[in-house]
Symmetry: C2
Subunit: 334 residues, 2 copies
């Protein structure tokens, strides 16, 4: 269209606008005319046509469990920032931990020629040819890089903190089975506990149930722990929202946090610092992990890795002490 106006061919225009090497055979004045006309008409190449021809779309697909949930959206914030910076845009789709939705999303992604995939807390439905980076996903598929937390370290931080305060009777709330972090973190906790000489009472282990991403599962899990009859002076939950839900259950049962029960959360979501009491928690640098994922992905898109892609990028957690933990009361039964 701009070519017609100048009496040139579309080829020339394309070359100049893209700074193609072949453009060096086009004299400066002509180039300037093209540039000027492009500016004048506010010309934008049709991205669809370009993608069709070039075979890539400058788009990536992002998968997460819930679109409105603290954990994944904090990762997403990092992903977005890094992606934008690199000139990519993304499709977002949530799957609510349903395999079918993941599957559909994956086919949608290939249909629409995304250049890569970022999957947050997601188990992929099948192997994909597309460059893929996962955040907190369990399976190690061929050639895909996984950004994971150092669970070992995370568990030690929490257990050593509680153990250092004098707690021996510690209750746990595990994650849902579908959550990728649940198993590795639980392994790490068992390991850290035994290292600290703490035995894990099976009666003091509850799991989050249901697929609600809200506080309720933690609330009910804590109620089950209280009903189990075993006493405990501390509680370590799978994440912060569960912790908040659990604290409510504890309080409703007449227990004070932290005087009667210390509570340690996980993630350090934005609201953790503003809880009452402020939540002691294991901080995951979620935004950083998201940025790392996106950066790794665009790198991989630009240049496929030489031989075997690095399988894992391990991120270290921090521990944040606030008000929800203290030494156990000298004597008290739940």
């Amino acid at each position: 269209m701009i070519a017609d106006h100048l009496g040139l061919s579309a080829a020339a225009v394309s070359r100049v606008l893209n700074g193609a090497p072949a453009a060096k055979s086009i004299p400066k004045p002509t180039q300037d005319r093209i540039l000027a006309a492009a500016k004048q008409f506010n010309y934008r190449p049709n991205v669809l046509a370009r993608s069709l021809r070039r075979g890539h779309s400058m788009t990536v697909g992002v998968l997460l469990p819930e679109v409105s949930e603290g954990y994944a959206t904090l990762v997403l914030a990092g992903v977005e920032q890094a992606l934008l910076q690199a000139g990519y845009v993304f499709y977002l789709v949530s799957h609510h931990h349903q395999a079918e939705r993941v599957e559909n999303a994956q086919t949608m992604f290939v249909e629409r020629f995304v250049d890569g995939i970022v999957a947050i807390d997601t188990v992929l439905a099948r192997h994909t040819e597309l460059p893929t980076i996962t955040v907190s996903c369990p399976d190690e598929q061929e050639g895909m890089t996984n950004i994971v937390l150092n669970h070992r370290r995370a568990a030690e931080l929490a257990i050593d903190h509680l153990s250092g305060l004098g707690h021996r009777e510690i209750a746990f709330i595990k994650g849902q089975a579908f959550s990728s972090d649940t198993e590795p973190r639980w392994q790490a906790i068992r390991h850290a506990a035994s290292r600290a000489g703490i035995t894990v009472d099976p009666l003091l282990v509850a799991s989050l149930e249901g697929d609600s991403p809200t506080h309720e599962p933690g609330y009910f899990a804590a109620q089950r722990l209280l009903a189990s009859g075993s006493s405990f002076t501390a509680l370590f939950t799978f994440n912060d929202v569960s912790a908040i839900g659990a604290i409510r259950a504890l309080r409703e049962a007449g227990l004070r946090v932290p005087q009667d029960v210390s509570v340690v959360g996980f993630d350090d979501v934005q609201s953790a610092a503003f809880q009452n009491p402020g939540l002691t928690t294991v901080r995951q640098p979620l935004k950083t992990m998201g940025m790392l994922a996106a950066e790794t992905l665009v790198q991989r898109i630009a240049a496929p890795p030489e031989h075997p892609a690095p399988k894992q990028l391990v991120i270290d957690p921090e521990f944040v002490v606030r008000e929800s933990t203290c030494p156990p009361a000298p004597r008290r039964k739940t």
Copy 2:
């Protein structure tokens, strides 16, 4: 490709697969062959090519302030669900309330041939030809529909609740200037207050400052209110996260909520019910608003509205009483 395999033309394949009217001149057996082959090869038409030809992309652009923030992502959840149901996918971009980022996003949207735009709590940078639905946006551009809360009703619910409990000295935390709801809601509050015979002490009005979407602005705003020297028995904040931040500031100042100060939030985000104390708040049906926005948009994409599009869809709030409000103490100065 599938055409070659069957010795047919791409045209025939296209017509059959799309159930085009012209397909009726193709006999059943041939149609079956095409369908079978498509299934066998798991054939997916190239969406890029199709969009290029058809002139629409089955994609919409979604704009919001922050990707990890309770309010907008709850709306987003509704948008996503309705969009998915209608077969659309979306680009997500956050703008952090920066006009330039909104502008860039808008040009990106037209470059990529989105079929429409959903803008959540966003002031658009310029007029757009694209079908656009906004949620909680102030400006009434030609032909664009805005989903808004019934601020009048919302303010009355909160003010009448506090006034009914006996509160007369009420402090307020207004939203940031860039937030679309700030002005209309404030107008509504003044109106409701005067209707209830309550005078608004200018010293008892603070505004959220800074563009952080977290609890801090509310925390600092509450501190400024406390420092103002005027006493108050109740506080009505712009949203729940501010309320949570404010509660922390109050508590740090030695005030108990609700015994010394009642607090009413706004939105009813997921964590509101699990705060300590549980937050009394004005509930916006955010997910519903998101769904409504998306449904209205796809409708408008399918069939441009007859003449003048309805300008506004007004949604009614609910009031949720929890534990952060109670009658004021008989006598107490802050």
